[in-house]
Every structure is written in C-alpha cells, then in structure tokens.
Assembly symmetry: none
Homo-oligomer: 94 residues x 2
C-alpha cells in the first residue's frame, strides 16, 4: 500500500517539490497546503485550474505565496482535489 508519507518521500526527490515543501517561510503555509493538495491529487496546475473553472496562472499565483486567497477559492480547491477544507484557530500553548 502506498501512503501519503511514502509519496511525500518520493516526491521530495523532485527539487521543485522539495523546495516548495521545506524552504517556504511559515507565512506561506497556505501555498504549501495548496501544492500538497494538488500533487496528492495527481493533478497539474492546468488540470486543477479546469476543475476549479479558472486558469493555470491563477493556480500558479496561489502556489507562489503571492496571493491571500479567499475561503471561496480554498473551498473550490478542496472540491477539485477531493478533500475537505479545514480552517481552525489553535491554541499556541497546548
């Protein structure tokens, strides 16, 4: 069986994936989550864009960290990747 962890290890060999996953600053956590959701779904930016009824450039913008996406966009991305969007405010001390 292939777990997401194994897939992650495999994809970490991809320089772009590895850079996206490890080098991005904390404030780009959303961008990282977007990249991970798309890659785990096995989609290219163009394919994801089609499912979200938008364009490849918009997806690239999301993944670059230059965007502050709305929850509407995030929810559409969740539908397109077959995932559930989770948003929470967690305590810093527990």
């Amino acid at each position: 069986m292939t777990t997401s962890r194994e897939l992650h290890r495999k994809w970490m060999k991809d320089p772009k994936y590895a850079k996206a996953y490890t080098d991005l600053a904390p404030e780009f956590a959303v961008a990282r989550a977007v990249i991970e959701a798309r890659v785990l779904a096995g989609l290219t930016q163009e394919e994801l864009a089609e499912r979200m009824d938008t364009t490849q450039s918009s997806i690239a913008r999301l993944e670059s960290g230059r965007a502050r996406p709305s929850t509407d966009t995030l929810e559409r991305l969740a539908v397109a990747t077959g995932t559930n969007l989770k948003i929470s405010f967690t305590s810093k001390h527990s």
Copy 2:
C-alpha cells in the same frame, strides 16, 4: 415570536444538527471557528475589531457566515486572538 433564527440557535445545541448544518454550509464552519476564537479569547466584537484594526460591523459580518474571508483577514484574526491559523486539505477517506 419564534423566528427561524431562534429555532436555528436552539437546534444548533444538538450536535447532530450542528454537524449536518456545518457540513452543508462550509462558510458557516469558518464563521463558527471565528466566533469560537473570539469568545475563547474573552473579547467582544468591538475589542477584536480594534485589535484587527477594523470595525465591529466587519467582525459581525465574519461571524454571520455572509463573508468569504481572505486568508489575510484570518491571519490577522489569529494574531488578535493569540492563536495559530491552520488551513489544511484533509483526505475524505482516512
């Protein structure tokens, strides 16, 4: 007088109703997280608004479910309530 809003508030005390409600309306799950973060921080809408450098009416709009807030707004709310914002796309099958 019994309004639908009052009925909703009453029924939201039922966990099953609450879950079904938020599952069908993702934007209200965000609204609920916002309300929870503010109340746990012990803040009024006005006090939270001041910390976020915005207005009470904007907070009310966030909590009403009528908004699709940007991640910028959510980040500022996390800072104002002393929490960490977590956004993730979780698998539906695990």
